[in-house]
């Protein structure tokens, strides 16, 4: 029995997702260190290999596609470190995932306060 609710637009990061995403999340965790970020940028493909990413994870990273990274087991707290390499903040990521412009996403957040 799945103990987790089906919440639209929401992936519950549980043991199942943690197993799928371990290599991707481990790579992103390494980006806490500046030298790791530099090594990644110097040769992303070699960096993927070093952490044993599968093809879906590699392609999601190449595309900087956050929804695809989540589907491939990525956890948002570690993905935030990947996004940081490309100077993407949480509104940029939110906009990408919801298919709107960053300005439209910020407006949606502001409206939630009305």
């Amino acid at each position: 029995m799945d103990p987790h609710a089906d919440i639209p637009g929401t992936t519950i990061f549980d043991g199942k997702m943690a197993m799928i995403g371990y290599a991707l999340n481990k790579m992103c965790y390494s980006f806490n260190r500046a030298e790791a970020r530099e090594a990644y940028l110097a040769d992303p493909e070699a960096y993927f290999e070093r952490f044993g990413l599968n093809e879906a994870q590699k392609q999601a990273c190449r595309d900087k596609d956050v929804l695809a990274m989540i589907e491939a087991g990525g956890n948002i707290y570690y993905l935030a470190k990947f996004a940081g390499i490309y100077k993407l903040n949480m509104q940029d990521i939110g906009a990408q995932q919801t298919g709107v412009s960053p300005d439209a996403f910020r407006e949606k957040l502001r409206k939630a306060g009305e």
């Binding site: 806490n32 970020r37 929804l67 948002i76 939110g94 995932q97 502001r110």
Partner: protein, 276 residues
């Protein structure tokens, strides 16, 4: 014996750390958030806690998925802040109180809360942003970090979080040193960073939580974890930290409260609760 002065809650959004670093607190975007803090500064200046227990959730600096403690307590003489990968300026280390930490750990485990003790722990924005907000001049007392897992399900239940706080309260009050303690519950309120539902914020639910956490925290233990994800968003589960803090306090009176949407992607709540 040690006594608990009160508890303070705040969101710990990284963007707040940037606003502090860039000194933009008075900008129209930030003013409705930062105006919550002067009454708390005044209370802290008057009450002068000897130790701060900072309950937060690590976001992938101190812990990774290789070893993920459900409840971790710092037992170090100091705690380093380190690079989190996306540009928050690194802060100087925070002084700890290791003998007090070990007393808390002894007491909690005796009370059947099985704790991960940490003689080294890098603390991230979840810990540092509240320290900056409450002690903007950096003159904070020694700190004990307590981190609960909200990165990976299964996360603790709301009842377990409140019970953890009750055991923490017993632990603090059984410490033979004559010290005063303030407890921080940081994180939340509603927000979701990931998925097609990114940007979800729920004012009604947040306001209910801010009311009930003062008057009837037991009622909040009826909320299931999946209901918390649904109503507060994936990362709104950080509300568990507020429950942990609240459990330690006993009877309280609310001295100040503020709620503002949005700060970054989040409904930001701040409260000062004094023990009575």
């Amino acid at each position: 014996m040690a006594r608990i002065l009160g508890g303070i809650t705040t969101s710990h959004i990284p963007a707040v750390g940037n606003a502090i670093a860039n000194q933009t607190q008075d900008d129209p975007y930030w003013e409705p958030f930062f105006k919550a803090y002067p009454p708390i500064h005044k209370w802290l200046a008057e009450n002068k806690p000897d130790v701060v227990i900072n309950i937060y959730n690590d976001h992938g600096l101190g812990f990774f998925l290789d070893q993920m403690p459900t409840f971790a307590i710092g037992a170090a003489h100091e705690y380093r802040n380190e690079d989190e990968g996306w540009g928050l300026p690194k802060l100087p280390p925070f002084k700890g109180d290791a003998p007090f930490s070990w007393h808390v750990i002894e007491s909690m485990v005796e009370d059947e809360f099985d704790i991960t003790s940490c003689q080294e722990l890098a603390v991230d924005h979840g810990f540092t942003v509240p320290m900056q907000l409450f002690w903007p001049d950096g003159d904070h007392p020694p700190a004990i970090p307590i981190s609960a897992n909200t990165v990976q399900h299964p996360i603790p239940t709301l009842k377990r979080a409140l019970d953890f706080g009750k055991a923490l309260g017993r632990a603090v009050r059984s410490y033979p040193e004559d010290i005063s303690v303030v407890i921080l519950g940081t994180g939340g309120l509603s927000h979701q960073l990931d998925g097609e539902r990114a940007g979800f914020i729920n004012r009604e639910f947040d306001e209910m939580c801010m009311e009930k956490i003062v008057s009837d925290p037991e009622a909040l233990t009826k909320i299931s974890r999946m209901e918390l994800v649904e109503k507060a968003g994936s990362q709104g589960t950080e509300f568990l930290m507020w429950m942990m803090m609240r459990g330690a306090l006993g009877d309280v009176r609310k001295l100040s409260s503020n709620y503002h949407i949005p700060i970054s992607n989040t409904g930001a709540g701040t409260m000062l609760l004094e023990c009575v």
